[in-house]
Amino acid sequence: MEEPRIGVYVCWCGTNIAKMVDVEHVSKELEKLPDVIISRDYKYMCSDPGQDLIIKDIKENNLNRIVVSACSPRIHELTFHKAMEKAGLNPYLFEMANIREQDSWVHTDRKEATEKAKSLILGAINKVRWHEALEKRSVDINPDTLIIGGGIAGLTAALEIADAGKKVYLVEKTDKLGGHAANIDLTFPFMNSVQQMLNPKIEKVINHPNIELFLETRIDEAFGYVGNFETTIKKENEEIQLKFGNIIVATGLKTFDPGGIENYGYGKLPDVVTSSEFERMLKEGKIQTNAGNDPRHVAIIHCVGSRNSDFHEYCSRTCCMTALKYANQLRSALPEANIYEAYADMMAFGKGCEELYLATSRKNVTFLMFDQKDNLPKIRKADSKHNFEMLIEINDKLSGVTVDVPADLVILMVAQEAHENAKEVAHAVGVSMCGNAFYIEKHPKLDPVATTTDGVYVVGSCQAPKDIPDSVSQARAAAARILASISFGSVEVEVTTAVVNENLCCGCQTCINVCPYTAISYDEEKQVSVVNEILCKGCGTCGSTCPTGAIRSRHFTDQQILSQIEGLLSTVLELEEA
């Protein structure tokens, strides 16, 4: 191996890092290390001038290894890979030390944070010494797309791609298209009819020559990699093999079951209904109590199952506006009724929403504010002396008074939660879930529809609770991404794969079943294991299983990691500080 000539760059990230880590001191110290040719600190390494600094140094000083200590590699590793390429260096001769997310942002003692930064960078320098150039490979893209879920998001994505002339397989587990939107009467805040929007889309999907539709169908695990996936779908007793290049997951969500919230008596009190059940009443045009009467007092309770650590900490996002929509619809349908909105906080962001709140508040609707964390309203059956069905005890935060609100009908604005089979689908297509079982996007801000598995996109409410416009935007965004990749024709695949040294492999076959992607097979003739580098996703589990040391996990080799450990725990720079 060539002698390492390492360039080290310590980023200030404005004050984000520099405030807590003495970057100038760190970069000076690092210059003393063997093989470190250049060590610099700079305001923003990720900026164009920052990258140019690296490129210039590489060219002028013949650097062959680069360490950037800055933010998380999850954020800017690729940025610097590109800079490396610009300078004519293989991008894998690079390592990042995460001194922002995992150092300056989480510590309060400047001296300790500075020491830790040195240690992390020493680890990175030690690791990069052993890095090797890896050649990028690309594979052709199968232009067909699999879309899982036939709700508004799935339908939109399907049409977007199919209209561009590309084939779509649309798989829906129920017997009809439309998803949750199909159950909704009017949308907030502009009271458009959902059916008028949805039905033509469904019609078009069913008849589209580029869309192959599979209803009442489930998918098995998808194998392969971006550009070349395959799976088996199951429809009744039939199994169909599909091959496709990209996957859009649009599996939507389900609504929260409020039966577990004792205060609300759902399931016991017949006139306590969920928002979904009320939506059905609206669709049928019949707002009635269980006994068949027109309700004279209607209460709408917000945040049922949302924004409460006992259920879901997140905001379900659409319920406040839906509740306001209900108040408006109730006011039209029952002009004489008393309408109460019991809310915790009014979440009215988005186009036209605050305006809807204002308009609703002028329609003789009583707003009461309760404490969502500790003091939920309590619904009880009213005595027979009252001429209404229920009483809701609410500690109203606005007036500071506990009031009993009469109600004939109570609508619980139930939370939206991840699908019960979200996990199954996650496994089938290889996406990750966050703690609340919604799927995680690749980057919350900069890459909101891609996932960490290349070629798999998440759109609509399977990613987080969403309204229709957001679901549609995501669907179109994912479709655009996929169409772009199809039009490019090929895609770069993982190069940090495992590789078997055939001169060492003894053929024990311990590795073969360890691989979750069946990427390892046994070559009977050579009597060695062989890694299919296209199928390999680079997890490295086979490398750590191989007792012979014959499998190398590229970019995370034993030598690289052992060397990183040595650097991390090295005391060479500690003395300077003391």
């Binding site: 995680i440 979750p516 997890c539 589990t541 490398g543 750590s544 995370f556 450990i565 725990l569």
Partner: protein
């Protein structure tokens, strides 16, 4: 300054490392003793790394992976779990306290849990005091 243990932490890229990043973006504060090494999957972590960390002076080794069933690579974390138990038995035989090696599951959304874990683990290693492996291994007697 009081005794500051050195803790090496191996984190899988998809869940735990992301969780640790989240602790950062959320500006949570935790002890500076934990030094993180990123691997793609907890299934990549092998006993050699852990032993090497002790040999080079780590007072504790903290391994974090995706929660069972949530592994980005399906089952790598189970491989890690199996190795962890055997390694636990071995290091205790070698005279190390079992608390010096710990395995926890941290998801990508558990920044808070990671920060708390880092603090709590650092405290538990402080209670144990310095690990003598490096000292013992360096001097042949």
């Amino acid at each position: 300054m009081s005794y500051q243990p050195k803790i090496v932490s191996f984190l899988c890229n998809w869940c735990s490392y992301t969780g640790a990043d989240l602790a950062g973006t959320s500006r949570m504060k935790y002890a500076p003793n934990v030094r993180i090494i990123r691997v793609m999957c907890s299934g990549r972590i092998e006993p050699t790394f852990v032993l090497k960390a002790f040999r080079e002076g780590a007072d504790g080794v903290l391994i974090c992976g995706c929660h069972p069933g949530d592994c980005h690579y399906h089952e790598g974390n189970y491989k890690c779990l199996r190795r962890y138990y055997l390694l636990q038995k071995y290091i205790q035989q070698m005279g190390l306290k079992k608390e010096r090696l710990r395995l926890e599951w941290i998801s990508a959304s558990e920044g808070k849990q990671f920060a708390e874990l880092a603090d709590e683990y650092t405290e538990s290693i402080k209670e144990l005091g310095p690990c003598k492996v490096k000292e013992v291994m360096e001097v042949l007697t």
